[in-house]
Symmetry: D2
Subunit: 272 residues, 4 copies
């Protein structure tokens, strides 16, 4: 009978590497002690929409533009994203406005399409889609891996390990809220994930207060909390017309609100 | 701006179809008021192991043999299954012992390999792998869709809808325990899922007390509870040497225990 | 510095006593392998109401009448129970119809008033009201201790220990559902609590499917599941006019439904 | 049939009072936009211990001294507190060092003993001990009401309503972590409780990162997060010898660590 071997210490573990990992993406360094800000709409909806939001968030201080092209939605009857056309629009923005981009990939068969996307996001629902994780591990692309909404700290790190063990160590862990009995917020942002992941791992840790609460009015407070707790990056949903957004409008803030948030977040970063 | 349309009533809903759906698989009818029993090891480990267990569970009254060939495991360093070879062994058993089989599929690219598998299982971790669900929807294969360990009743049914809306209505929902604060059991078997899914949907409902508790000593009690609550099918992990199993040994019962369970389960089915 | 001593093995533990405890209440023996049925309204509302329901449930096979006089309610503006007058009415029913009674006590200062109540219930919200538990421990009254809605098996047993360690071993543990992310049911009935408490402890275990689901239409299925899983007792909310109940009408069944439930529950008990 | 009346708008609600409530305790104003710091040991253990810690936390900037005299413990075999003697020691410290004190009350019968205690704490386990809450409502004492570990925002506010509706509006709500599936931390600190309680209510909101995480190494990060999210007060467990503490040593920080925390917390408060 073939023997099964377990490797006890994870590549992502602090025991394996004492110093924080820094992910360098065209000069933007995530995890080096500064604060990286990722912002943009939940979904890419049109050329006009994505250009307009991208300009606004860039001006306000965003380091990366986020935008969903492939949208994993609970119901098949919800808007599923512009798909390939959405990626094309993002790449156009990237080139025109010179801002690196983050977008979610849902299947390994799309890897070619995402070749010029700067950070590939793996969503909560795919945190244990090991086929996808292994495929990403065989690239060198930076991956932003979102914690599943019912995954423990150790589980998100063993999921990251599927990427690292294939040779790609450019992984950022993202806390985006967990599912609890509380229904006032969409999810419960687990702020202790920031120091906990930092204790367990050398990988950078980002926080998404938009999904983390599902309420635009809490996004600023939770963003500042995340920075105060030591997060390396924030990922914020911004929309020029939240009330008309194709998805997640309720948790999107406006460019104006985002500008104020960035200033405050940087001020908090400075004092800690 | 393109309009987004939502279809309010799901195809899986009781409103769409009043009568229970019956899934007929070579004469085995799941959902017709009887009790279907699926049993076998967590993982296919060797020819000897799978043949030996298959004979035992068939003799004891199992309608279907289960066995994992592709194993989604939390850690990349755990046994990942025999993969294609595992499927091959299952098909050999199927032919030799004339017992239909159930096995988990983790990626649409494996569909060809699973052509003769009778029921394709989608695991909890893939309950929202919509790429996979849509691909299964384009086949006519019976699918056993496991509820995610943090998914609501409505979410597992909207996941099923990804399959139904593509044209495949052969879906069985499987309750296998949810994640709660209780750690004495591996998961908390949500027994109310049985009447709840029945109320919301016309699809058959199965219960997996092995994952539902993670403890072999509770499997019989929980199986009888599932039958008493009205489950159409049970899915039980059985291993000839639980202590040596490559995976999930702690929750596997022996063929002898399984035989007693089947007798009691049928007796309970009869009185209700 | 004074030393703190911990007693490792609980009095309620299987290690302390191998045989199941049997609680004998005027000839009704809870925990002796049979099925004890407790039924009645959530709240005592009037003389007419409690007499009418008591007659009906007794006739249908209930061993004990339940009825709340002191009602711990989430909001101070909800009906708080008839209090002392409610206890008086219960005692009148007890005497007239010769049926033992169960009612909730919320404060030790009411102990005198409950002198002739057969089983004192401690509700979920008071499972860790240690002042109350210790006071009950100094009596010899049978206590039905409900598991808190976020308490582990071990925690409900260490709460029971506050009663046992004061000298009163007449404790029945009651599973009544835990709080999870699922909102379709009021609580998630944790059916594995039955075999788990039995494994950990010699105390009898009751199940309350009414609070456990919050939905009258699921009460029968969950009752049968509880019996099949090995419960010693069921505690069911029955109301002659559920739609007009002062509290918990949505989870109350009618006397007619209760009669059918009792027959089926006894049939399931017989076959297992 | 007697009519049951529900009052729709809570006294604690923002609809009832637009401006934030300020609780003035001998000149210390909780809720006025500043940051109040409560610190001290989990349990009062000895005269020497409590005086030593009190001096240290006062010097480091604590506004209130906390210390448990009556300790509700999961097991009856754990240290239950010095009880009346503990309160006596706290009052001695209060007089000698001129620092107001916070201590937990577990039963209304102890109210006399707590007459000179500045803030009466109601612990998580007693959040729905309505007998106790009503008794506190009939005093004018400031009450720090801890959210139950499985209570929603609305539930902690309806519990507060038991105090307010009896005439006492001096209530501070305290977030101290909720129970989730994550076991790496003792509880999951729900940081969104800060903006959520502020949105729903005019009462001040405190955060306890010690119970909120159960890990001393996370207390500073979570404290800063709480301040950044807008908390009015922090409640921190400090012990001069955490490793020897009678209770909760694992989550207690040292006076030296506390001093640094206070400086950083005030700096964060200033920039937001």
């Amino acid at each position: 009978m073939e023997e099964i071997r377990y490797r006890q210490v994870l590549l992502s573990s602090r025991e394996t590497q004492k110093e924080n990992s820094i992910i360098d993406i065209s000069g933007k360094r995530i995890g080096d002690g500064g604060l990286t800000i990722i912002a943009g709409p939940c979904s890419v909806e049109s050329e006009n929409q994505i250009f307009s939001i991208a300009e606004a968030v860039k001006k306000a201080g965003a380091d990366f533009l986020r935008g969903g092209a492939y949208k994993p939605r609970t119901s098949p009857y919800d808007f599923q994203g512009l798909e390939a056309e959405g990626v094309r629009l993002l790449l156009e923005v990237r080139k025109t406005l010179d801002i690196p981009i983050v977008s979610e990939i849902v299947d390994a068969s799309n890897l070619d399409l995402f070749e010029d996307v700067d950070i590939l996001q793996v969503g909560s629902r795919n945190m244990q889609n090991f086929t996808l994780l292994k495929a990403l591990g065989r690239t060198k692309k930076p991956v932003l891996l979102k914690r599943g909404y019912a995954a423990t700290y150790r589980e998100v790190l063993t999921s990251a390990e599927y990427i690292l063990s294939e040779g790609n160590s450019n992984v950022i862990i993202c806390e985006r809220g967990i599912r609890t009995f509380e229904t006032y917020t969409r999810n419960t942002l687990d702020i202790a994930a920031v120091p906990a992941i930092r204790e367990l791992s050398h990988l950078p840790i980002a926080v998404d207060p938009s999904h983390g609460s599902g309420r635009s009015e809490f996004v600023e407070d939770l963003s500042l909390a995340a920075v105060a707790a030591g997060a390396d990056a924030l990922m914020i949903e911004v929309h020029n017309h939240p009330e008309d957004a194709f998805s997640d409008g309720k948790q999107s803030i406006t460019p104006g609100e985002f500008e104020i948030l960035v200033k405050k977040a940087k001020a908090v970063k400075e004092v800690i």
